[in-house]
């Protein structure tokens, strides 16, 4: 790590200096004010720099491309295909992959390729929204708790304990009663509990950071709390938070899969990756294709998200700014 920051001076051989220098060798060229002020490297804003570093991080960029590809496929694949995701055909039961059906068909003769991308729509939507909302809500509340501490912290943490203790299934069922079954139900149900994770996490981080010297220094200098949070705390938490977000998306996709597994997922005939995986796992011994394909897409999505997370963490890290 440290090595990269150290600039090793070039090993050029410096010509031997004569004992006395002849002044005629030199001439006064005067001040070049223009050159003095010029900046050899282009000036970059925080975001430009982050983007530049992110792009340079090859795995992260690859992950970004894969997710982009999946999003595009999720949008267009079902529209382009001539098969509907819920159309059944007795003659196509367990059809193996072919040019007609890229990934074959399931036990009811439904095209897995189309179902995969219909499922991706649902899973990715739930994953991104649930994780993002959770992160926003959680970090605001967690940040307040961690920074101010005291009674506010005590009360909110007790609320957190209570909410966390309520079985999530009950919450999911009750949310379903109120808003009906659908993607939004799952997102809401996940958010009711989900923010707690990032809240606890951010609280811990902020707790740690606010005792750092630079924060103390800022405080002594009379910097307002708001500015301290904005300038000192947030940039330092950002890295961990982004990593956390990228972990939270798979978490939300899994949560959806679990709810589908126990039958509390989205309303049929819609499908998600969780539902596909569950349908597929039943056929593991008979027809392993379905679960293999589903697992492949889930895994590569997670892989990409993780790589993006790592890339973003480095990109946002203020201490790595301007390096490389």
């Amino acid at each position: 790590m440290a090595k990269k920051n150290v600039r090793i001076p070039s090993g050029e051989v410096i010509p031997e200096i004569p004992e006395t220098l002849d002044p005629s060798l030199f001439k006064v060229i005067g001040k070049n004010t223009e050159r003095m002020e010029s900046i050899s490297r282009p000036s970059l804003t925080f975001w430009q720099d982050a983007w530049r570093r992110f792009r340079k991080n090859r795995p992260a960029f690859l992950g970004f491309c894969i997710i982009g590809l999946y999003v595009i496929l999720a949008i267009f694949a079902p529209i382009m295909s001539k098969y509907a995701f819920d159309a059944m055909d007795v003659s196509l039961k367990y059809a193996t992959p072919s040019l007609e059906h890229f990934l074959g068909c399931d036990g009811s003769g439904r095209d897995i390729w189309v179902r995969m991308w219909m499922g991706a729509r649902v899973s990715l939507t739930i994953g991104f929204f649930a994780a993002f909302i959770n992160m926003c809500v959680g970090s605001v509340i967690g940040g307040l708790c961690g920074y101010y501490g005291g009674w506010l912290d005590m009360i909110i943490m007790r609320i957190v304990d209570v909410v966390y203790g309520i079985p999530s299934l009950i919450i999911t069922i009750l949310v379903m009663v109120v808003v009906g079954r659908g993607i939004h139900t799952l997102i809401i149900a996940m958010c009711v509990v989900g923010w707690i994770g990032s809240c606890r996490f951010v609280r811990g981080e902020v707790y740690r950071l606010k005792n750092q010297d630079y924060v103390s220094a800022a405080k002594v200098l009379g910097v307002p709390d708001f500015t301290i949070i904005l300038r000192h705390i947030i940039p330092n938490v950002m890295g961990m938070l982004i990593t956390n977000l990228c972990m939270a998306i798979p978490g939300a996709i899994f949560q959806e899969a679990f709810l589908s597994y126990i039958g509390l997922g989205i309303a049929p005939p819609n499908c998600s990756w969780g539902i596909l995986a569950k349908e597929g796992i039943k056929y593991l011994k008979v027809y392993p294709n379905q679960v293999m394909f589903t697992a492949f897409f889930i895994c590569t999505t997670m892989l990409s998200l993780t790589m993006i997370g790592d890339g973003l963490r480095d990109a946002f890290d203020p201490r790595l700014r301007g390096t490389e």
Binding site: V162, I173, G197, R200, A277, T301
Partner: protein
């Protein structure tokens, strides 16, 4: 410190009371009823409602429940009609806890190891290997992981038993299947946090002082980097030890997970409440331990101020 703990314990009891109250009334809002079958005669249903005291006003039932709970009695399950909730939790928790502890041990040992190794060798092939392993762990839903392990090691290779819980051999597959996700998230969190710590000035100072690498790693890096891991451990411990529906069902382990899910589906009110009380108390305890550990591990966090 002791004053802090007393304060926290009081807060924990109050939290638990609020939790019980909230869940007690929430479950009654759930659609459906506890006494259901294809052929439930209205008269019979009436009798059952009386038998469980559901004909009394809700508030009376609430205080009765609290009174019984103080005596340590969580009532009879409404589905498994002659078993008490205490009995069911008492006979299933040891299995879930056993499975959970094994999984946690695996997850912590390998997770921390992978995280530290990856962070110390950042950018090398070893790092990539560790990261990929961790990613695979977080990428596969547990029901796929469990089923595949069972299929490969139990049915194809026939080296390990496919199900049940009757000795060390039986514990390997489910513990591993359960550990994988936690291990992966521990290692990821550890790696990220280690990288953070590695850049701190005090590490440079320590290096400048000429401390051995081993000493720097142990005394300065790991100790400081472990904080976020501890934070995520609280809820994880509670969740893993109180039963995991999927893995327990898949490996036919007589743990709590099944009752946790089924009681909600069956509207088995006393069972849901019992599970909530137990899980809630456990969770609050774990979080308390985590907060205390904060003070122990990180000298800069002074508890009680």
């Amino acid at each position: 410190m002791s004053k802090y703990i007393v304060k926290r314990v009081i807060a924990a009891v109050l939290t638990l009371l609020v939790l019980i109250t909230v869940v007690f009334f929430l479950v009654r809002l759930m659609p459906g009823e506890p006494f259901t079958s294809e052929k439930l005669n209205p008269i019979v249903k009436e009798n059952m409602i009386k038998y469980y005291g559901f004909d009394k006003p809700l508030i009376v039932q609430y205080f009765q429940y609290l009174g019984n709970l103080l005596k340590g009695n969580m009532g009879y399950s409404m589905k498994y009609t002659n078993k008490t909730v205490n009995y069911i939790i008492g006979s299933t928790f040891p299995y879930s806890a056993d499975l959970g502890l094994r999984a946690l041990a695996i997850a912590l040992v390998f997770g921390l190891l992978l995280g530290v190794v990856a962070a110390l060798n950042r950018g090398t092939r070893l790092d990539v290997f560790c990261v990929i392993l961790a990613i695979i762990g977080t990428s596969i839903p547990d029901f796929i992981m469990g089923a595949v392990l069972q299929y490969v090691f139990g049915l194809k290779l026939k080296v390990l038993p496919v199900a049940k819980w009757a000795g060390f051999k039986y514990t390997i597959l489910p513990s591993c299947a359960l550990a994988f996700y936690t291990m992966a998230s521990v290692s990821r969190t550890m790696r990220a946090s280690m990288l953070e710590v590695v850049q701190q000035d005090y590490i440079k100072t320590a290096r400048a002082k000429g401390l051995s690498n081993f000493r720097i790693t142990w005394k300065h890096q790991i100790r400081n980097a472990i904080m976020p891991v501890i934070t995520i451990m609280g809820p994880t411990v509670a969740a893993v030890l109180t039963g995991t529906f999927v893995i327990e069902a898949m490996y036919a382990i007589p743990g709590m997970g099944k009752y946790y899910v089924d009681s909600t589906n069956d509207n088995d009110y006393s069972m849901i409440l019992g599970m909530t009380v137990f899980y809630g108390a456990f969770l609050i305890f774990c979080n308390l331990v985590v907060d205390i550990l904060y003070g122990v591990v990180d000298p800069r966090v002074r508890i009680g101020k």
